[in-house]
Assembly symmetry: C2
């Protein structure tokens, strides 16, 4: 096995946002030299990584040249230049998750086709190269309101997903490649994070339950463990493992799923990296998702995914009506509460619905944690000066 710890080994990470930042906590813990590529000189990782390189993640040369300076490459965001990764892989660089998996996941249309090709349960969908095609489909009664619209690529932070209920909604969609899905009534949105290393060792985190903000389409609470029937949780876990197996995935895969009204599990989408639905693990789990990501991509033994205590995560997003230098109002008040840990991502400017941080609430009792989470959400405000 390679010697990663306090050695000459260099880990490269494409992307320097909050996920990279939380990953850095773990590379610092293990003293693994970490280089970050990001196009933003004030990205959350910029000042605290070993080496920071400024460059566009979608630019071939930027990604290729960065890749040539590291011993193993990973990502914290999936929208990166894949041609550069292919070339780097051809030239012998180890890249996890594998570029071939990123290619499937980057495009929601390819993702959906992959699920269908491999009999992985998912909502029915249609695929359109342009908005005009979608409109044409509507005019010919092939598709009807309401439906879910998703940009095929580059959706992030709640952009790129819309529920289309009427002709006005339809008219306001951007003219990009997209997919549409039937709006399926569901009981719960669930997620399972699966880790797999190159040796094929696999570990799954407990099923978590997500509550979304109805307008912003962003997660409001992530609750671990999900308060669902054991059998449904087991089914969700099996579906997630099946996705990992069919992708022959190496790294950390967050599988988001719907539990339908008749207790079917449908895969919504996957993220090939640490994910918002696993942030609770920093405080609640024996091995948090960022350490597990490292373990999986470095082919180290995987850690225990069980929880020490129940965990709930509240996202801190910029309040509507505020833009500019951020202030976390009443942050001190939530620090007074037992088991409450804020994570501030280091973005100096807030804007409506921007992910600025999160708060984890842990408690030996999940109902108490849920009450505190509500209180936290009602207390703290992300506003501007």
């Amino acid at each position: 096995m390679k010697n990663y710890f306090s050695s000459d080994f260099k880990l490269g990470v494409l992307g320097g946002g909050q996920l990279g930042r939380m990953l850095l906590t773990e590379t610092q813990k293990f003293d693994i030299h970490t280089s970050i590529l990001d196009s933003n000189a004030t990205a959350p990782c910029a000042e605290i990584c070993n080496t920071f390189v400024l460059g566009d993640l979608l630019d071939f040369d930027a990604v290729y040249n960065f890749g040539k300076t590291v011993d193993l490459l990973t990502i914290e965001i999936e929208n990166v230049n894949l041609d550069a990764l292919d070339k780097l892989e051809d030239e012998g660089l180890t890249i996890y998750p594998k570029p071939q998996d990123l290619r499937i996941i980057q495009s929601k249309a390819r993702q959906k086709n992959f699920y269908i090709d491999h009999q992985i349960p998912t909502a029915e969908f249609s695929h359109y190269a342009y908005l005009e095609e979608l409109k044409h489909s509507f005019e010919n009664n092939i598709i009807d309101f309401p439906f879910v619209w998703k940009a095929a690529r580059f959706g992030y932070d709640g952009n790129g997903v819309k529920i289309v209920r009427n002709i006005d909604d339809l008219q306001s969609l951007p003219n990009v490649e997209c997919i549409t899905e039937k709006l399926i009534p569901f009981k719960n949105e669930l997620a399972v994070i699966v880790a797999r290393n190159a040796d094929g060792e696999i570990a799954t985190y407990p099923v978590v339950e997500m509550e979304f903000h109805p307008e912003a389409n962003q997660v409001e609470y992530v609750i671990c463990p999900a308060r669902i029937d054991f059998k449904v949780a087991e089914k969700a876990r099996e579906v997630a493992l099946n996705v990992v197996s069919k992708l022959d995935f190496v790294g950390l895969l967050a599988v988001e799923m719907f539990q339908t009204v008749d207790d079917k599990i449908l895969v919504n989408e996957v993220a090939p990296r640490p994910h918002n639905s696993g942030h609770y693990s920093i405080e609640a789990s024996y091995t948090n998702q960022f350490e597990q990501h490292l373990r999986s991509i470095l082919n180290l033994p995987l850690g225990n995914t069980e929880s020490k205590v129940a965990g709930i995560m509240v996202n801190l997003v910029g309040e509507e009506g505020f833009s500019g230098d951020v202030i976390y109002e009443n942050l001190n008040d939530i620090l007074r509460i037992d088991g409450v840990t804020p994570h501030i991502y280091g973005k100096k400017e807030t804007r409506p619905f921007r992910k600025m941080g999160h708060v984890t609430i842990v408690n030996s009792d999940i109902d108490t944690a849920r009450e505190i989470a509500q209180k936290v959400k009602e207390t703290i405000r992300v506003i501007s000066k």
Copy 2:
């Protein structure tokens, strides 16, 4: 209250070693801009803090000039230039722990006098300005073997404390200011970490039990909670609170104590900062000692000091006979064990008994944790290439 989070506020830390490094994890979590002063350009903090300044912690100008660039100053090592801190404090800078407390703690002789002046139980001691005075005392039968010798200042990492059993031991002592203590037979070495903020809010961590390596005089295991009688633990806690109260201390104070054979509690020494005996808290506690240090010096509400699970810490020290580029042999084997987390401090060179890292073992059952700790200690080796 001040706005520390993603703001212009600058925290300054004197010292950039492993304690500073673990503190940086917390300042990153809260996005508090942190500047570090250290004389070593490759100090564990050098690459991962917001601002790194090269300078000698004992040099007046280095400390004073650094202090002028920050909004609040703290330490991760107590051997710093106090005249500079006095001047900075006079000029209005907030410094926690307070320079007056650092002055008492920096000198083991002053520390001992402080305990005696304030009726805090401690072992009897004698104070010598030079080695010759001590030898003279021995020749006149005022002091007899065995006794404990401690350098009055700058003891660290097991240097500066020796058990003197014979004339050879006595002859080999360095010629520095020192204190001597009777060698007291004790059942346990205990420690209690107390946090206090400027508002006077106080929080104590559970009493931990320490096992020392007999030769290197370094902690081998720290066990939380200490497996001692509740009443003894309560007494230890009261003694620690008394020290904090008498010092009018602000910050984090680690109080090391002996439990004598007749269950008396004697204060051994204190450290005015996060301490080796509190490293277990990163994985085991609701609020770890580094976050608590931040909360106390920034006058934020203190966090819950209770544990989620039992925790044991094993120090990783350089093996005898090895010096040079470090290798952590069999580190992968300990990663296979549930609840085991290594922390590698980022020192590229090992030497005998140098503190290179630590490993935390957490488990819901303390006896299982203790067995795993032994296994960890027997498995991992800190050697050189």
